[in-house]
């Protein structure tokens, strides 16, 4: 019976991820290709939105991944603190810049979408503001990783920051809700409600979301592999200096 923890062994992780990486990359390319082409060229223009609605195919998946990346970092940070698996800490480190980029994409596409819809690129709306704060959390997290030289201490400290940051990110989310009522519409997708976007837009959007998930997994795998290799190189250089 094999256990999930086997993948904490870098060698095993490298072997498995070398198989998974192309699979997820291809899946991401296919899903994104299908979803974007379908979404941009084959769907009708929405009433009272015009063609600008099509930015939804990038905006919504990016926003979802921006939050999910932080959740993933929280889980891997906890695993690192409890079970001390290096791959876990490195995966958290690898995910942070990707999450930050997703946050930035969501903010920028949101601004581009906001201009024709609300007549302004930016409003201090709860959803927008909490994303801006999430962006700041990512910046702080990445900066802390970069600032500390000892890799184990850096992993420990960023894990603690990630956990505390998660609590405050959640708190900020509700605090800004309380602070101002905004323009942003409610969630476009949910499992139990009938208030989803219209069916014509729904299916390509699902493709795009699946594509973003696969893209995220592929990028995290790629960056984690790079981190592991970089650490091996550092270890070899250190050994050479010792000899």
């Amino acid at each position: 019976m094999s256990s999930l923890w086997e993948y904490a062994n870098p060698q095993k992780f490298m072997r498995t991820s070398s198989v998974l990486l192309p699979v997820f990359s291809v899946a991401a390319a296919i899903c994104l290709g299908v979803g974007l082409v379908w979404g941009f060229f084959l769907t009708p223009e929405a009433e009272n939105f015009g063609s600008t609605v099509k930015i939804i195919y990038i905006h919504v998946p990016a926003a979802m991944m921006a939050i999910n990346a932080w959740v993933m970092m929280l889980v891997t940070s906890l695993i690192w603190l409890v079970r001390r698996h290096h791959v876990s800490a490195l995966a958290a480190r690898a995910a942070a810049p990707i999450g930050m980029t997703m946050t930035l994409i969501a903010l920028i596409t949101g601004a581009i979408w906001g201009e024709p819809m609300w007549g302004t690129y930016w409003v201090w709306d709860p959803r927008l503001t909490s994303f801006m704060i999430l962006f700041l959390f990512y910046l702080g997290y990445i900066a802390l990783w970069e600032a500390i030289e000892n890799p184990d201490a850096a992993a420990d400290l960023t894990s603690v920051l990630c956990i505390v940051g998660s609590v405050f990110a959640l708190l900020s989310r509700y605090a800004v809700n309380f602070w101002s009522q905004g323009l942003h519409q409610g969630a476009s997708l949910s499992l139990d409600k009938k208030e989803n976007v219209a069916d014509v837009f729904y299916i390509p959007l699902l493709f795009c979301i699946a594509g973003f998930v696969c893209l995220f997994v592929a990028l995290v795998l790629l960056r984690t592999r790079t981190e592991i290799r970089a650490r091996r190189v550092r270890a070899m250089l250190a050994r050479e200096r010792m000899a």
Binding site: L136, L144, A153, D156, L157, S172, A175
Partner: protein, 218 residues
């Protein structure tokens, strides 16, 4: 622990700098705002609660890196870490000393500075109350940030990047309480939330900060 508190307080007062500097910085911010936005007293009255809270927050931020850095440099932090009292208690006392030397003076000075910003009369009590309830949270969150960056050479800038996003909820509820107090609306919710943040920060963050110090001293 009481001895530690007294020691930190004596150090902060005798070493100069830290104690008055935060207040002076707060004063500078409040003086600069009218130059920036114009001296229209109606406008100043409207933004006064927010500016006073942001000013208090920045003044608090200014002195954060002193919480552990000096003790780390001269080695006394190692002694404190191996002392018979738990490191969590040390952190809590450090945060308390930071609050007494910055948060408390800021709370006391804020109504006076409110005068400069033409804060409406109804706001003074709420400003003092919200700062009194909120600044302990600022000190506690700040000592967590200081604990994370204690071993770093250029910790100051990084510290502000780490701590400012954590300050957001406190700032929102604090400024909202004052703004509601001025309008004569119910201030119960923001003040209760502020108290909740402060109590939760005092209960939980010493453990996170102590963990960070242990990692940094390892």
């Amino acid at each position: 622990m009481i001895a530690l508190l007294q020691r930190d307080l004596r150090l902060a007062i005798r070493a100069g700098g830290g104690f008055g500097l935060g207040l002076a910085f707060f004063l500078i911010i409040v003086v600069l705002v009218p130059f920036g936005v114009g001296s229209d007293s109606g406008l100043l009255a409207a933004i006064a609660p927010g500016i006073l809270w942001v000013g208090a927050l920045l003044a608090c931020l200014l002195s954060l890196d002193r919480i552990f850095a000096l003790d780390h440099e001269d080695g006394s932090l190692d002694l404190l870490a191996t002392a018979p009292i738990p490191l969590e208690g040390v952190v809590a006392m450090k945060a308390a000393a930071h609050w007494v030397t910055t948060g408390l003076p800021l709370t006391l000075a804020a109504p006076g500075l409110g005068l400069l910003l033409n804060l409406p009369a109804a706001g003074y009590g709420w400003l003092a109350a919200s700062l009194a309830l909120g600044t302990p949270a600022l000190s506690m969150i700040g000592s967590f940030g200081a604990a994370l960056t204690v071993g770093l050479k250029r910790g100051g800038l990084l510290l502000s990047l780490l701590v400012l996003p954590l300050y957001v909820p406190t700032l929102i509820f604090g400024a909202e309480a004052v703004a509601r107090g001025i309008d004569g609306r119910d201030t119960g919710t923001p003040l209760l939330m502020l108290t909740a943040i402060t109590l939760a920060a005092m209960a939980l963050l010493p453990f996170a900060a102590a963990a960070a110090i242990r990692i940094n001293l390892r």
